[in-house]
Protein backbone atom coordinates (compact mmCIF):
# COMPACT_ATOMS: atom_id res chain seq x y z
CA UNK A 1 0.00 0.00 0.00
CA UNK A 2 1.15 3.47 -0.80
CA UNK A 3 0.73 6.76 0.95
CA UNK A 4 2.34 10.15 1.55
CA UNK A 5 4.55 10.93 4.47
CA UNK A 6 5.47 14.44 5.53
CA UNK A 7 8.57 15.12 7.57
CA UNK A 8 10.37 18.23 8.78
CA UNK A 9 13.70 19.31 7.41
CA UNK A 10 16.39 18.10 9.81
CA UNK A 11 14.25 15.37 11.32
CA UNK A 12 15.30 11.73 11.68
CA UNK A 13 12.94 9.46 9.75
CA UNK A 14 12.38 5.78 10.37
CA UNK A 15 10.46 3.87 7.72
CA UNK A 16 9.06 0.45 8.41
CA UNK A 17 8.55 -2.00 5.61
CA UNK A 18 4.82 -2.37 6.13
CA UNK A 19 4.00 -5.38 8.28
CA UNK A 20 7.35 -7.12 7.77
CA UNK A 21 9.28 -8.18 10.88
CA UNK A 22 12.30 -6.20 11.98
CA UNK A 23 14.68 -8.96 11.05
CA UNK A 24 13.22 -9.66 7.60
CA UNK A 25 15.47 -9.35 4.59
CA UNK A 26 14.36 -6.40 2.49
CA UNK A 27 15.64 -4.02 -0.10
CA UNK A 28 14.73 -0.35 -0.09
CA UNK A 29 14.80 1.86 -3.11
CA UNK A 30 14.55 5.64 -3.41
CA UNK A 31 13.02 6.73 -6.73
CA UNK A 32 13.98 3.35 -8.16
CA UNK A 33 17.58 3.43 -7.02
CA UNK A 34 18.72 0.86 -4.47
CA UNK A 35 19.58 2.22 -1.07
CA UNK A 36 22.81 1.13 0.56
CA UNK A 37 22.51 -1.27 3.52
CA UNK A 38 24.30 1.19 5.80
CA UNK A 39 21.03 3.10 6.06
CA UNK A 40 19.17 0.08 7.32
CA UNK A 41 18.47 -1.02 10.83
CA UNK A 42 17.15 -4.51 10.24
CA UNK A 43 14.30 -3.96 7.83
CA UNK A 44 13.81 -0.36 8.89
CA UNK A 45 15.14 2.42 6.77
CA UNK A 46 16.78 5.17 8.79
CA UNK A 47 17.21 8.63 7.27
CA UNK A 48 18.99 11.04 9.56
CA UNK A 49 18.68 14.82 9.34
CA UNK A 50 16.61 14.75 6.19
CA UNK A 51 16.87 17.49 3.64
CA UNK A 52 14.76 18.58 0.70
CA UNK A 53 16.71 16.48 -1.79
CA UNK A 54 15.57 13.34 -0.02
CA UNK A 55 11.95 13.85 -1.01
CA UNK A 56 10.77 11.11 -3.29
CA UNK A 57 9.26 7.71 -3.59
CA UNK A 58 10.56 5.05 -1.22
CA UNK A 59 9.76 1.41 -1.86
CA UNK A 60 10.46 -1.72 0.11
CA UNK A 61 10.82 -5.13 -1.52
CA UNK A 62 10.97 -8.48 0.14
CA UNK A 63 14.47 -9.87 -0.13
CA UNK A 64 14.13 -12.96 -2.31
CA UNK A 65 10.77 -12.63 -4.02
CA UNK A 66 11.05 -8.94 -4.89
CA UNK A 67 7.46 -8.46 -3.92
CA UNK A 68 6.63 -4.85 -3.25
CA UNK A 69 5.73 -4.76 0.42
CA UNK A 70 5.46 -1.08 1.13
CA UNK A 71 5.64 2.20 -0.73
CA UNK A 72 5.52 5.74 0.50
CA UNK A 73 6.06 9.14 -0.92
CA UNK A 74 8.30 11.18 1.37
CA UNK A 75 7.77 14.92 1.29
CA UNK A 76 10.31 16.89 3.28
CA UNK A 77 9.22 20.37 4.26
CA UNK A 78 8.73 22.84 7.07
CA UNK A 79 5.79 23.96 9.15
CA UNK A 80 4.48 27.35 7.98
CA UNK A 81 6.05 30.56 9.25
CA UNK A 82 3.75 33.45 10.09
CA UNK A 83 2.04 34.39 6.82
CA UNK A 84 2.14 37.88 5.33
CA UNK A 85 -1.35 39.36 4.94
CA UNK A 86 -2.34 42.52 3.18
CA UNK A 87 -5.81 44.03 2.76
CA UNK A 88 -6.61 46.92 0.51
CA UNK A 89 -9.55 48.74 -0.97
CA UNK A 90 -8.76 49.74 -4.54
CA UNK A 91 -12.44 49.87 -5.44
CA UNK A 92 -13.90 52.00 -2.66
CA UNK A 93 -16.77 52.06 -1.77
CA UNK A 94 -17.51 48.63 -3.22
CA UNK A 95 -15.35 46.63 -0.84
CA UNK A 96 -11.83 45.40 -0.32
CA UNK A 97 -9.58 42.45 -1.03
CA UNK A 98 -7.01 40.62 1.03
CA UNK A 99 -4.03 38.80 -0.34
CA UNK A 100 -1.42 36.73 1.40
CA UNK A 101 1.70 34.72 0.97
CA UNK A 102 4.22 32.82 3.02
CA UNK A 103 7.53 34.54 3.68
CA UNK A 104 9.44 31.31 3.05
CA UNK A 105 8.27 28.23 1.13
CA UNK A 106 7.29 25.12 3.04
CA UNK A 107 7.82 22.77 0.07
CA UNK A 108 4.69 20.89 0.96
CA UNK A 109 1.03 21.71 0.27
CA UNK A 110 -0.56 24.40 2.46
CA UNK A 111 -4.17 25.28 3.00
CA UNK A 112 -5.35 28.77 3.91
CA UNK A 113 -8.38 29.78 5.86
CA UNK A 114 -9.40 33.40 6.12
CA UNK A 115 -11.97 34.85 8.49
CA UNK A 116 -13.29 38.40 8.49
CA UNK A 117 -15.09 39.75 11.52
CA UNK A 118 -16.82 43.11 11.55
CA UNK A 119 -17.96 43.90 15.07
CA UNK A 120 -20.00 40.86 15.94
CA UNK A 121 -20.67 39.79 12.38
CA UNK A 122 -18.67 37.21 10.50
CA UNK A 123 -18.35 38.11 6.82
CA UNK A 124 -17.52 35.82 3.95
CA UNK A 125 -14.41 36.63 1.94
CA UNK A 126 -14.91 35.12 -1.49
CA UNK A 127 -11.81 33.47 -2.83
CA UNK A 128 -10.61 34.64 -6.21
CA UNK A 129 -9.78 32.05 -8.84
CA UNK A 130 -6.95 34.20 -10.10
CA UNK A 131 -4.71 35.18 -8.53
CA UNK A 132 -4.67 32.49 -5.91
CA UNK A 133 -4.21 33.50 -2.30
CA UNK A 134 -6.62 36.34 -2.65
CA UNK A 135 -10.22 36.92 -1.63
CA UNK A 136 -12.61 39.84 -1.81
CA UNK A 137 -15.43 41.25 0.29
CA UNK A 138 -18.27 43.58 -0.53
CA UNK A 139 -19.15 46.28 1.94
CA UNK A 140 -22.67 46.02 3.28
CA UNK A 141 -22.42 49.30 5.13
CA UNK A 142 -20.45 52.43 4.44
CA UNK A 143 -18.80 54.82 6.91
CA UNK A 144 -18.50 52.23 9.63
CA UNK A 145 -16.91 53.07 12.98
CA UNK A 146 -16.34 49.44 13.78
CA UNK A 147 -13.04 47.92 12.72
CA UNK A 148 -12.59 44.88 10.53
CA UNK A 149 -10.54 42.00 11.91
CA UNK A 150 -9.08 39.63 9.36
CA UNK A 151 -7.41 36.42 10.52
CA UNK A 152 -5.50 34.22 8.14
CA UNK A 153 -4.59 30.72 9.24
CA UNK A 154 -2.22 28.58 7.23
CA UNK A 155 -2.05 24.87 7.88
CA UNK A 156 0.03 22.04 6.52
CA UNK A 157 0.86 18.51 7.60
CA UNK A 158 3.67 19.74 9.82
CA UNK A 159 1.99 22.59 11.68
CA UNK A 160 -0.01 25.76 11.50
CA UNK A 161 0.42 29.48 11.93
CA UNK A 162 -1.69 32.59 11.66
CA UNK A 163 -1.70 36.35 11.48
CA UNK A 164 -4.32 39.01 12.16
CA UNK A 165 -4.96 42.43 10.67
CA UNK A 166 -7.29 44.97 12.23
CA UNK A 167 -8.25 48.09 10.33
CA UNK A 168 -10.78 50.81 9.70
CA UNK A 169 -12.76 51.03 6.48
CA UNK A 170 -10.92 54.26 5.62
CA UNK A 171 -7.42 53.15 6.45
CA UNK A 172 -7.02 50.60 3.67
CA UNK A 173 -8.20 52.74 0.75
CA UNK A 174 -5.49 52.79 -1.92
CA UNK A 175 -6.43 53.11 -5.58
CA UNK A 176 -4.64 51.43 -8.44
CA UNK A 177 -2.30 53.73 -10.40
CA UNK A 178 -3.76 55.94 -13.15
CA UNK A 179 -4.03 54.31 -16.56
CA UNK A 180 -3.24 55.30 -20.12
CA UNK A 181 -0.73 57.98 -19.18
CA UNK A 182 0.19 59.89 -22.32
CA UNK A 183 2.72 62.70 -22.66
CA UNK A 184 2.97 64.74 -25.83
CA UNK A 185 4.99 67.73 -26.92
CA UNK A 186 3.10 70.95 -27.64
CA UNK A 187 3.77 72.34 -31.14
CA UNK A 188 5.71 75.60 -31.17
CA UNK A 189 6.29 75.40 -27.43
CA UNK A 190 9.79 74.18 -26.65
CA UNK A 191 9.25 74.13 -22.87
CA UNK A 192 5.88 72.42 -22.67
CA UNK A 193 4.66 68.88 -22.37
CA UNK A 194 1.02 67.93 -22.27
CA UNK A 195 0.29 65.02 -19.94
CA UNK A 196 -3.04 63.23 -19.74
CA UNK A 197 -4.24 60.06 -18.02
CA UNK A 198 -7.32 58.20 -16.94
CA UNK A 199 -8.81 57.13 -13.64
CA UNK A 200 -7.86 53.55 -12.80
CA UNK A 201 -10.58 51.29 -14.19
CA UNK A 202 -10.92 49.50 -10.84
CA UNK A 203 -12.20 52.70 -9.17
CA UNK A 204 -15.96 52.31 -9.52
CA UNK A 205 -17.38 55.75 -8.81
CA UNK A 206 -15.08 58.71 -9.51
CA UNK A 207 -18.10 61.05 -9.56
CA UNK A 208 -18.97 60.62 -5.90
CA UNK A 209 -15.50 59.56 -4.82
CA UNK A 210 -13.21 61.79 -6.83
CA UNK A 211 -9.51 61.12 -7.07
CA UNK A 212 -6.72 63.59 -6.82
CA UNK A 213 -3.42 63.10 -8.58
CA UNK A 214 0.28 63.57 -8.08
CA UNK A 215 2.47 64.04 -11.10
CA UNK A 216 6.23 63.72 -11.06
CA UNK A 217 8.61 64.43 -13.91
CA UNK A 218 12.29 64.88 -14.56
CA UNK A 219 14.63 64.95 -17.53
CA UNK A 220 16.42 61.63 -17.92
CA UNK A 221 19.73 63.33 -17.29
CA UNK A 222 18.77 64.55 -13.80
CA UNK A 223 17.96 62.57 -10.66
CA UNK A 224 15.69 65.04 -8.94
CA UNK A 225 11.95 64.85 -9.57
CA UNK A 226 9.63 67.79 -9.81
CA UNK A 227 6.17 67.34 -8.34
CA UNK A 228 2.72 68.72 -8.97
CA UNK A 229 -0.38 67.86 -6.97
CA UNK A 230 -3.66 68.20 -8.86
CA UNK A 231 -6.98 68.20 -7.07
CA UNK A 232 -9.04 67.54 -10.16
CA UNK A 233 -8.83 66.94 -13.84
CA UNK A 234 -6.93 64.22 -15.62
CA UNK A 235 -4.48 66.34 -17.54
CA UNK A 236 -1.74 68.83 -16.89
CA UNK A 237 0.62 70.90 -18.97
CA UNK A 238 4.24 71.06 -17.83
CA UNK A 239 5.51 74.53 -18.67
CA UNK A 240 9.05 74.46 -17.35
CA UNK A 241 10.58 71.60 -19.27
CA UNK A 242 14.13 71.91 -20.55
CA UNK A 243 14.15 72.45 -24.28
CA UNK A 244 15.11 69.39 -26.25
CA UNK A 245 15.57 67.06 -23.26
CA UNK A 246 13.79 63.75 -22.94
CA UNK A 247 11.53 63.55 -19.90
CA UNK A 248 10.25 60.70 -17.80
CA UNK A 249 6.80 61.23 -16.30
CA UNK A 250 4.65 59.31 -13.80
CA UNK A 251 1.31 59.85 -12.13
CA UNK A 252 -0.19 58.55 -8.88
CA UNK A 253 -3.75 58.73 -7.57
CA UNK A 254 -5.43 59.03 -4.19
CA UNK A 255 -8.97 59.38 -2.98
CA UNK A 256 -9.52 63.06 -2.37
CA UNK A 257 -10.07 62.64 1.35
CA UNK A 258 -9.12 59.24 2.69
CA UNK A 259 -6.53 56.51 2.40
CA UNK A 260 -3.10 56.51 0.80
CA UNK A 261 -1.48 57.23 -2.56
CA UNK A 262 -1.43 54.59 -5.25
CA UNK A 263 1.81 53.21 -6.62
CA UNK A 264 3.31 55.22 -9.47
CA UNK A 265 1.89 54.61 -12.91
CA UNK A 266 3.88 53.14 -15.75
CA UNK A 267 6.48 55.74 -16.77
CA UNK A 268 6.09 57.57 -20.06
CA UNK A 269 8.78 59.37 -21.97
CA UNK A 270 8.43 62.53 -24.00
CA UNK A 271 10.59 65.27 -25.40
CA UNK A 272 9.32 68.85 -25.83
CA UNK A 273 8.86 70.21 -29.36
CA UNK A 274 11.95 71.57 -30.99
CA UNK A 275 12.49 73.78 -34.05
CA UNK A 276 13.67 72.43 -37.39
CA UNK A 277 17.25 71.07 -37.16
CA UNK A 278 18.85 73.76 -39.38
CA UNK A 279 17.81 76.45 -36.86
CA UNK A 280 18.81 74.39 -33.81
CA UNK A 281 22.11 76.13 -32.93
CA UNK A 282 20.74 79.69 -32.82
CA UNK A 283 17.52 78.66 -31.00
CA UNK A 284 19.42 76.64 -28.41
CA UNK A 285 21.71 79.58 -27.67
CA UNK A 286 18.74 81.93 -27.23
CA UNK A 287 16.92 79.42 -24.97
CA UNK A 288 20.05 78.96 -22.83
CA UNK A 289 20.60 82.67 -22.27
CA UNK A 290 16.95 83.51 -21.49
CA UNK A 291 16.44 80.73 -18.95
CA UNK A 292 19.59 81.01 -16.83
CA UNK A 293 22.76 83.04 -16.74
CA UNK A 294 24.96 80.30 -15.31
CA UNK A 295 25.02 76.54 -15.86
CA UNK A 296 22.17 75.20 -17.96
CA UNK A 297 21.77 72.34 -15.48
CA UNK A 298 20.40 74.59 -12.75
CA UNK A 299 16.96 73.37 -11.73
CA UNK A 300 14.07 75.36 -13.19
CA UNK A 301 11.53 76.85 -10.77
CA UNK A 302 9.33 74.07 -9.42
CA UNK A 303 5.58 74.44 -9.43
CA UNK A 304 5.30 74.75 -5.68
CA UNK A 305 2.45 73.00 -3.90
CA UNK A 306 2.28 75.89 -1.42
CA UNK A 307 1.91 78.45 -4.24
CA UNK A 308 -0.92 76.44 -5.70
CA UNK A 309 -2.58 76.21 -2.30
CA UNK A 310 -2.14 79.89 -1.57
CA UNK A 311 -3.75 80.71 -4.90
CA UNK A 312 -6.86 78.65 -4.10
CA UNK A 313 -7.15 80.10 -0.61
CA UNK A 314 -6.69 83.72 -1.54
CA UNK A 315 -9.09 83.17 -4.42
CA UNK A 316 -11.80 82.18 -1.98
CA UNK A 317 -11.05 85.14 0.29
CA UNK A 318 -10.97 87.46 -2.74
CA UNK A 319 -14.45 86.36 -3.87
CA UNK A 320 -15.71 86.76 -0.31
CA UNK A 321 -14.48 90.32 0.02
CA UNK A 322 -15.39 91.26 -3.55
CA UNK A 323 -18.96 90.18 -2.90
CA UNK A 324 -18.88 92.13 0.33
CA UNK A 325 -17.66 95.27 -1.41
CA UNK A 326 -20.24 95.02 -4.17
CA UNK A 327 -23.05 94.52 -1.68
CA UNK A 328 -21.69 97.40 0.40
CA UNK A 329 -21.68 99.56 -2.73
CA UNK A 330 -25.32 98.69 -3.45
CA UNK A 331 -26.23 99.31 0.17
CA UNK A 332 -24.70 102.78 -0.04
CA UNK A 333 -26.90 103.51 -3.08
CA UNK A 334 -29.98 102.55 -1.11
CA UNK A 335 -29.24 104.57 2.01
Amino acid sequence: DSHIQYERVGADVTMKCGSMDWDAAVTWTANGTDIDESHLNGSYLILKNVDLTQSGQYSCYEGSSWHLKYQTYLRVGTPPKEPVLMCRSNNYPKGFYCSWHLPTPTYIPNSFNISVIHGTKEMVCEKDAVPKNRCHIRYLQLFSTVKYKVTLTVTNALGKNFTTLTFDEFGIVKPDPPESVVAKPVPNNPRRLEVSWQNPSSWPDPESFPLKFFLRYRPLILDQWQHVELSDGTSHTITDAYAGKEYIIQVAAKDNDIGTWSDWSVAVHATPWTEEPKHLTTEAQITETTSTSTSSFMAPPTTKICDKGAMVGSGAVAVCWTAGLVVAAYSVLFI
Binding site: Q141, V146, D257, G309, V312, V327
Partner: protein, 222 residues
Protein backbone atom coordinates in the same frame (compact mmCIF):
# COMPACT_ATOMS: atom_id res chain seq x y z
CA UNK B 1 -0.78 66.99 3.58
CA UNK B 2 0.76 70.45 3.26
CA UNK B 3 -1.84 71.47 0.70
CA UNK B 4 -4.67 70.56 3.05
CA UNK B 5 -3.26 72.72 5.83
CA UNK B 6 -2.76 75.93 3.88
CA UNK B 7 -5.95 76.06 1.84
CA UNK B 8 -7.98 74.58 4.63
CA UNK B 9 -6.93 77.37 6.97
CA UNK B 10 -7.53 80.06 4.35
CA UNK B 11 -11.00 78.92 3.49
CA UNK B 12 -11.96 78.26 7.08
CA UNK B 13 -10.95 81.82 7.98
CA UNK B 14 -13.17 83.01 5.18
CA UNK B 15 -16.08 80.97 6.44
CA UNK B 16 -15.52 82.20 9.99
CA UNK B 17 -15.34 85.81 8.89
CA UNK B 18 -18.38 85.52 6.70
CA UNK B 19 -20.42 84.07 9.47
CA UNK B 20 -19.47 86.58 12.16
CA UNK B 21 -22.65 88.27 13.36
CA UNK B 22 -20.68 91.50 13.73
CA UNK B 23 -20.56 92.01 9.95
CA UNK B 24 -23.57 94.17 9.15
CA UNK B 25 -26.09 92.72 6.75
CA UNK B 26 -23.55 90.35 5.25
CA UNK B 27 -24.22 86.67 5.15
CA UNK B 28 -21.50 85.59 2.77
CA UNK B 29 -22.74 82.06 2.25
CA UNK B 30 -26.09 83.29 0.98
CA UNK B 31 -24.66 85.98 -1.25
CA UNK B 32 -22.10 83.70 -2.86
CA UNK B 33 -24.59 81.08 -3.93
CA UNK B 34 -24.98 77.47 -2.99
CA UNK B 35 -22.04 76.21 -5.04
CA UNK B 36 -19.47 78.27 -3.18
CA UNK B 37 -21.05 77.44 0.19
CA UNK B 38 -20.83 73.74 -0.51
CA UNK B 39 -17.15 74.14 -1.32
CA UNK B 40 -16.69 76.11 1.89
CA UNK B 41 -18.48 73.48 3.93
CA UNK B 42 -16.43 70.76 2.31
CA UNK B 43 -13.22 72.63 3.15
CA UNK B 44 -14.44 73.06 6.73
CA UNK B 45 -14.98 69.33 7.15
CA UNK B 46 -11.45 68.68 5.95
CA UNK B 47 -10.04 71.28 8.32
CA UNK B 48 -12.03 69.85 11.23
CA UNK B 49 -10.91 66.34 10.40
CA UNK B 50 -7.33 67.50 10.57
CA UNK B 51 -7.96 69.31 13.88
CA UNK B 52 -9.70 66.27 15.30
CA UNK B 53 -6.70 64.07 14.73
CA UNK B 54 -4.63 66.16 17.14
CA UNK B 55 -7.49 66.61 19.58
CA UNK B 56 -8.38 62.91 19.65
CA UNK B 57 -4.74 61.96 20.20
CA UNK B 58 -4.48 64.28 23.18
CA UNK B 59 -7.85 63.29 24.60
CA UNK B 60 -7.29 59.55 24.31
CA UNK B 61 -3.95 59.92 26.07
CA UNK B 62 -5.78 61.78 28.80
CA UNK B 63 -8.21 58.86 29.10
CA UNK B 64 -5.24 56.53 29.29
CA UNK B 65 -4.97 52.87 28.31
CA UNK B 66 -6.63 50.98 26.73
CA UNK B 67 -8.33 53.92 25.01
CA UNK B 68 -5.13 55.32 23.57
CA UNK B 69 -3.95 52.00 22.17
CA UNK B 70 -4.10 51.88 18.37
CA UNK B 71 -5.53 48.33 18.35
CA UNK B 72 -8.29 49.13 20.81
CA UNK B 73 -11.40 47.69 19.23
CA UNK B 74 -14.20 47.42 21.79
CA UNK B 75 -17.67 46.11 21.05
CA UNK B 76 -20.35 48.71 20.61
CA UNK B 77 -22.50 48.92 23.72
CA UNK B 78 -26.17 49.76 23.49
CA UNK B 79 -25.69 53.02 25.37
CA UNK B 80 -23.36 54.27 22.62
CA UNK B 81 -26.31 54.39 20.22
CA UNK B 82 -27.27 57.82 21.51
CA UNK B 83 -24.42 59.29 19.49
CA UNK B 84 -25.61 59.67 15.87
CA UNK B 85 -23.92 57.15 13.60
CA UNK B 86 -22.58 57.93 10.15
CA UNK B 87 -22.87 54.28 9.15
CA UNK B 88 -25.36 53.75 6.38
CA UNK B 89 -26.28 51.19 3.76
CA UNK B 90 -24.42 51.96 0.52
CA UNK B 91 -27.43 52.09 -1.81
CA UNK B 92 -29.40 54.09 0.71
CA UNK B 93 -26.58 56.62 0.97
CA UNK B 94 -26.36 56.91 -2.79
CA UNK B 95 -30.10 57.46 -3.09
CA UNK B 96 -30.35 60.25 -0.50
CA UNK B 97 -31.94 63.43 -1.78
CA UNK B 98 -29.88 66.60 -1.37
CA UNK B 99 -32.23 67.71 1.39
CA UNK B 100 -31.97 64.43 3.28
CA UNK B 101 -28.20 64.38 2.84
CA UNK B 102 -27.76 67.88 4.22
CA UNK B 103 -30.29 67.34 7.00
CA UNK B 104 -28.50 64.20 8.18
CA UNK B 105 -25.25 66.14 8.41
CA UNK B 106 -26.91 69.08 10.13
CA UNK B 107 -28.62 66.92 12.74
CA UNK B 108 -25.55 64.82 13.39
CA UNK B 109 -23.18 67.73 13.96
CA UNK B 110 -25.70 69.63 16.08
CA UNK B 111 -25.96 66.68 18.42
CA UNK B 112 -22.25 65.92 18.35
CA UNK B 113 -21.61 69.54 19.25
CA UNK B 114 -23.91 69.22 22.26
CA UNK B 115 -22.11 66.14 23.50
CA UNK B 116 -18.74 67.75 22.94
CA UNK B 117 -19.77 70.77 24.96
CA UNK B 118 -20.72 68.48 27.84
CA UNK B 119 -17.30 66.86 27.53
CA UNK B 120 -15.66 70.25 27.57
CA UNK B 121 -17.36 71.18 30.84
CA UNK B 122 -16.13 68.04 32.58
CA UNK B 123 -12.60 67.73 31.34
CA UNK B 124 -9.64 68.00 33.71
CA UNK B 125 -6.67 69.73 32.14
CA UNK B 126 -6.50 73.32 30.93
CA UNK B 127 -4.83 72.31 27.69
CA UNK B 128 -7.65 69.93 26.85
CA UNK B 129 -10.31 72.45 27.74
CA UNK B 130 -8.63 74.97 25.45
CA UNK B 131 -8.39 72.50 22.57
CA UNK B 132 -11.96 71.34 23.03
CA UNK B 133 -13.25 74.90 23.14
CA UNK B 134 -11.41 75.68 19.92
CA UNK B 135 -12.77 72.58 18.28
CA UNK B 136 -16.33 73.31 19.42
CA UNK B 137 -16.07 76.77 17.90
CA UNK B 138 -14.96 75.28 14.58
CA UNK B 139 -17.71 72.68 14.75
CA UNK B 140 -20.24 75.41 15.44
CA UNK B 141 -18.98 77.07 12.27
CA UNK B 142 -19.61 73.85 10.37
CA UNK B 143 -23.18 73.58 11.64
CA UNK B 144 -23.81 77.17 10.59
CA UNK B 145 -22.23 76.54 7.22
CA UNK B 146 -24.44 73.52 6.57
CA UNK B 147 -27.43 75.56 7.66
CA UNK B 148 -26.38 78.24 5.22
CA UNK B 149 -26.26 75.77 2.35
CA UNK B 150 -29.70 74.44 3.24
CA UNK B 151 -31.16 77.93 3.36
CA UNK B 152 -29.64 78.95 0.05
CA UNK B 153 -31.12 75.84 -1.55
CA UNK B 154 -34.50 76.57 0.02
CA UNK B 155 -34.56 73.65 2.43
CA UNK B 156 -35.98 74.06 5.93
CA UNK B 157 -33.55 73.56 8.77
CA UNK B 158 -34.22 70.39 10.77
CA UNK B 159 -35.90 71.11 14.07
CA UNK B 160 -34.12 70.19 17.23
CA UNK B 161 -31.35 70.88 19.60
CA UNK B 162 -28.55 73.27 18.94
CA UNK B 163 -29.15 74.25 22.52
CA UNK B 164 -28.75 72.59 25.87
CA UNK B 165 -27.09 69.19 26.14
CA UNK B 166 -28.63 65.83 27.09
CA UNK B 167 -32.13 66.04 28.57
CA UNK B 168 -32.21 65.96 32.38
CA UNK B 169 -33.57 62.41 32.51
CA UNK B 170 -30.81 60.89 30.40
CA UNK B 171 -28.70 58.25 32.13
CA UNK B 172 -25.13 59.32 32.78
CA UNK B 173 -22.47 56.66 32.84
CA UNK B 174 -22.68 54.55 36.00
CA UNK B 175 -18.93 54.33 36.36
CA UNK B 176 -15.70 55.94 35.26
CA UNK B 177 -14.79 53.28 32.69
CA UNK B 178 -18.14 53.45 30.91
CA UNK B 179 -17.92 57.23 30.89
CA UNK B 180 -14.57 56.92 29.14
CA UNK B 181 -16.10 54.46 26.67
CA UNK B 182 -18.79 57.05 25.87
CA UNK B 183 -16.06 59.61 25.20
CA UNK B 184 -14.17 57.14 23.01
CA UNK B 185 -17.21 56.43 20.85
CA UNK B 186 -18.08 60.10 20.62
CA UNK B 187 -14.69 60.89 19.13
CA UNK B 188 -14.89 57.87 16.82
CA UNK B 189 -18.31 58.87 15.51
CA UNK B 190 -17.16 62.43 15.04
CA UNK B 191 -14.17 61.26 13.03
CA UNK B 192 -16.33 58.98 10.89
CA UNK B 193 -18.88 61.73 10.30
CA UNK B 194 -16.15 64.06 9.08
CA UNK B 195 -14.95 61.39 6.63
CA UNK B 196 -18.50 60.81 5.50
CA UNK B 197 -19.27 64.52 5.14
CA UNK B 198 -16.37 64.97 2.77
CA UNK B 199 -18.05 62.38 0.55
CA UNK B 200 -21.52 63.89 1.10
CA UNK B 201 -20.31 67.32 0.05
CA UNK B 202 -18.39 65.93 -2.90
CA UNK B 203 -21.68 64.51 -4.15
CA UNK B 204 -23.50 67.76 -3.51
CA UNK B 205 -20.80 69.74 -5.30
CA UNK B 206 -21.43 67.75 -8.44
CA UNK B 207 -25.20 68.12 -8.33
CA UNK B 208 -25.53 71.82 -7.48
CA UNK B 209 -24.55 74.19 -10.30
CA UNK B 210 -21.15 75.95 -9.96
CA UNK B 211 -20.75 79.21 -8.05
CA UNK B 212 -22.92 82.04 -9.28
CA UNK B 213 -22.64 85.31 -7.43
CA UNK B 214 -26.18 86.24 -6.56
CA UNK B 215 -26.91 89.52 -4.92
CA UNK B 216 -29.82 89.47 -2.59
CA UNK B 217 -30.91 92.48 -0.71
CA UNK B 218 -32.92 91.99 2.39
CA UNK B 219 -34.33 94.54 4.72
CA UNK B 220 -32.11 94.48 7.72
CA UNK B 221 -31.56 96.59 10.77
CA UNK B 222 -28.22 98.41 10.57
Amino acid sequence: SPTGDSWGIFTFLCAALCNLPALPALNCSEELGAGQSIQQTYDLTRYLEHQLRTLAGTYLNYLGPPFNEPDFNPPRLARAERVPSATVDLDLWRGLTDNARLAANYRAYSRLLCYLRVLDSQVGTAELRHRLAHFCASLQGLVLSIGGVMSSLGYPLPAGPAGPPAPPGAPTAPNDFLKKMDDFWLLKELQTWLWRSAKDFNRLKKKVPPAVVTLRLEAREF
